[in-house]
Symmetry: C2
Subunit: 219 residues, 2 copies
DNA sequence: GATCTATTTTGATTTAAATCAAAACAGAGT
DNA sequence: ACTCTGTTTTGATTTAAATCAAAATAGATC
């Protein structure tokens, strides 16, 4: 991403990005309460982040795919505030945060890029507030379009993909119960906007789906 | 906040923080779509950020008080993604972002501090997701406790304050209608957890109020 | 202080989603 | 192929919040 590096800088960057880890489906990348040392860039696979409420309920806070960065929330307190678990076999690149700040000082464009990543996270999270005013079907449509957008950006089909998460996890993320998620999906199918086959989704009318959301962010 | 600066650095910082602006109640600090150049630190007063949906509805995305930083969302696209309006006469400090990155390179602790601020924003926004699973009364309790926490941190009473926003704005932020907000407040009063006098709020039983939220973040 | 407007409260009714319950289905392991 | 378990769908009922409506209150302006 940053260009025009000298040999020294390339070596530093290389070292920064050279710690790969395989995380198998079901394994945790980090847990709430643990000391923060590194960010993790998802190289491949799919993650869910969540927090455990006092009553034991699990609240899903996000889904994360290739190219996205995990752990940004932990910078503020030097402690992870959520759990991150792989929903499929995945690979991450560990980025020690102290080193990132160090190298960022030498390579301003890298630092700036990092700031954009953090900011994008804020925009995305804030966009979730828009769900507050929406009905179940609109929330689902927004969710599917957001996934579609992110898949497309990575070169996958924007209209044909498999959900890695359960209806319950979707519901938790969107503030709905799993039965409501299921019903909303069935409804969107009846209306001819999508095809649902358990975890496999086909968006058959993206234009109408987008109108369905009332408006809103598809990122 | 950062310590041990030499004269050069102090001068740079001074220049960075020297652009004050008065914003009167009702005036906008920035609007969605405008080019991004500067962050704004709230020196005094109270702001609301919001986006206008296609259907004309206003969605409130946040409330911001002294010491908080506005404009972090705009870094990602070099364009403001929301509107910021003063809910009372306010003063802000303009921080040109290019300069912040420049000076941050010279003063690592300043840069690190900035990263914590951005991260804190992510934590806060993500905490809003927890509202998804809550009932109206729980959302209101969470909201009031969060305000209380922020007032306390600034040296104001944590249990006695004036709301700067309307019931409709609270509702928009929390995903409720204004009538529901009003009813939930009345209910919390009946139950002896708070005293409501239109915009003036007194938290009479913070412990019970906290239990009321089910749990969750008061920041 | 009186008037006007915006905000807030409260009530009655409707609606969407949660809850309760059961059946259908899918995937993993034997 | 069969069983077990976890997931998903669908239906009936209850519940919380939205909506519709009107009165009460507060603030701003003259």
């Amino acid at each position: 991403m940053p260009v025009g590096l000298d040999e020294q800088e390339i070596k530093a960057l290389d070292h920064l990005l050279n710690q790969r880890h395989r995380i198998r489906r079901g394994e945790h990348l980090h847990r709430a309460g643990l000391d923060f040392h590194s960010l993790y860039a998802v190289r491949s696979g799919f993650f869910k982040t969540y927090v455990l409420q006092e009553d034991g309920r699990e609240q899903v806070t996000g889904f994360h795919m290739t190219g996205e960065v995990l752990g940004l929330d932990a910078i503020s307190t030097d402690m992870h505030t959520c759990n991150a678990v792989a929903l499929e076999d995945s690979e991450v690149c560990e980025i020690p945060f102290v080193k990132l700040e160090e190298i960022g000082r030498a390579i301003p464009s890298l630092m700036h890029h990092f700031h954009k990543i953090m900011s994008r996270e804020i925009v995305h999270d804030r966009g979730m507030l828009l769900l507050g005013g929406m009905k179940a079907g609109e929330r689902l449509a927004t969710f599917l379009l957001n996934l579609s957008y992110r898949f497309a950006k990575r070169g996958y089909s924007p209209s044909d993909f498999n959900l890695r998460m359960t209806r319950e996890e979707i519901g938790s993320y969107l503030g709905l119960k799993l039965e409501t998620v299921s019903r909303a999906l069935s409804r969107l199918q009846e209306d001819g906007l999508i095809d649902v086959n358990s975890k496999h989704i086909r968006l058959t009318d993206i234009g109408r789906l987008r109108r369905q959301t009332g408006n809103s962010f598809c990122e």
